[in-house]
Amino acid sequence: MSVLIFIDQADGHIKKSSFETLTYGADVAKQLGTTAEALLLGTSTEDIATLGKYGISKVYHIANDSLNNLDAQVYTQVIADAVTQANASVVIFSHNQTGKAVAARVATKLKAGLVAGACALPDTSNGFVVKKTVFSGKAFANVSISSAVKVISVNPNSHTTIIGDGVAEVASLNITVPTPKVKVIAVNKTSGDIPLTEADIVVSGGRGLKGPENWGIIIDLAKALGAATACSRPVSDSDWRPHHEHVGQTGIQVAPNLYIAVGISGAIQHLAGVNRSKIIVVINKDPEAPFFKAADYGIVGDAFEVLPKLTEEIKKFKAGA
């Protein structure tokens, strides 16, 4: 009756959100008095045994190269078989792109209840209740799972990674991998950039920046901070920035440690996508901008003057730190 954590990787590298889910799964196992084990699909270039430092005792590795691309149907079959063979009662995913593609399918195959977008450890004092974000971050729901097997997908950036010094046993499983029906033709990476959902810091620009030609000041600040860039909806609607940078209720929901909003008014639909950020900084020339009400720190001022100065100060700070 163990906890099984799905490890998500791309190009043989384990994603940051997976380290969080490993720690989350290890914490759930501790709570239930059982062991935490993990599952890795596809070939890997990493030293898998070292994943033990996140508190897991075993990693099942199915190093079949037809698993290097995600076909939700194939993954579901393989993961469900692994859950059965490992005799797991709780299955954990990251609520990232891969988790959104497979967690619900796996849950359905296993007739298991799913909480998608969990933001806290389960409460097992009376049943099995998991807190998740609803209304795009404007509220939380406590959801009870009644089935024997339980599936949780955990919001990225909602659980702190803890590193110890364990070593995991690496094992394989006897699973037949079905032939994929989905044929991947191309993978286009936005090269060099930090994926928005994985970023610790996000610098975001709105219509206040006036046009795409002015994005240099956003990018410079992001570079200085090692941050990802994002934008408000009208900015991506006007093609100033790509769609995948659009955050908000109808875009991507992010929860970084630090969200810096520049020239964004703070409409309710925008706030819904960012209000789980730990710290929000707002830079806006209008002191009445609604975003200030949702902010921790603010500067009332012109972005075109404030941002270059801020970037310089950050660089100075980084050089000194």
Partner: protein, 247 residues
């Protein structure tokens, strides 16, 4: 070609989020209902575009909900679509809802099933995957672009830090998001036509829910903003480092 578009009603994006009955139910007093934006702007409009290219295409809409969803369904029909099916049930369990949709989908023999990537109220992002599993179909999730060539779909999916282009044969379940189509607004002709389009109400099949909502909570309010002078950005850097500890 038969397309099924899953639509859900959700509160308007500006609706106040509040709860009643000791925080166990969403308080919908005075709430304006809209079609879940992902269902409307992307799934439905893309389906309509496909029908505009191939007149033999049939579009059915399906929703799981009570009679108060009917106005929203009529609005969806005003945009396009040939008929709607409402499964008369009220549930927040994704597995229950997906099972109802899968049952209808199996009966109807659809080639293509569109869902939104999530609803903006319960944020389950699960229905597409569940329906695909129940029907044993491939699933293209978080689709930014969708094209059809005969029986083969080309999809561009969002992946972490980029996009993946892939091909798959129908039947297929898709979850849609921004990029797939441009939002439209219904015109007068559409609104008139929607009045006479069939809206079939069917009773749900028996399914055991696997989850239930115990209670809701609102986030803690922020303590209030600390303003830093525009001429003293060094102070902001200090606060972020020493006080907030985020850099």
């Amino acid at each position: 070609m038969k397309i099924l578009v899953c639509v859900s009603k959700t509160p308007d994006t500006t609706a106040k989020v509040a709860f009643k009955d000791s925080n166990t139910k969403y308080d919908d007093a005075g709430v304006q209902w809209i079609i879940n934006p992902y269902d409307e702007w992307y799934s439905l409009v893309r389906a309509i575009e496909l029908k505009e290219k191939d007149a033999a295409t049939v579009i059915h809409l399906v929703t799981v909900g009570t009679a108060d969803a009917d106005t929203v369904i009529r609005k969806a029909l005003a945009l396009g679509g040939d008929e709607a099916i409402r499964i008369n049930a009220d549930s927040h369990d994704s597995f229950y809802i997906a099972s109802q949709i899968a049952y209808i989908a199996k009966e109807g023999g659809y080639d293509l099933i569109f869902t939104g990537k999530e609803t903006i109220d319960y944020n389950g992002s699960s229905i597409g995957g569940m329906v695909a599993e129940l029907l044993d179909m491939p699933y293209a999730s978080l689709v930014l672009k969708f094209d059809l060539n005969g029986n083969t779909a080309t999809t561009t999916r969002e992946i972490e830090g980029g996009e993946e282009v892939s091909e798959v044969n129908l039947p297929l379940v898709v979850s849609s998001q921004q990029g797939m189509a441009e939002p439209r607004i219904p015109n007068m002709r559409g609104i008139m036509a929607a009045r006479s389009k069939p809206l079939k109400v069917v009773e749900p099949i028996a399914v055991d829910a696997l989850t239930s909502i115990v209670s809701f909570e609102l986030p803690q309010a922020k303590a209030g903003v600390k303003l830093v002078d525009a001429d003293n950005v060094a102070e902001l850097v200090r606060l972020l480092h020493e006080e907030a500890k985020v850099i």
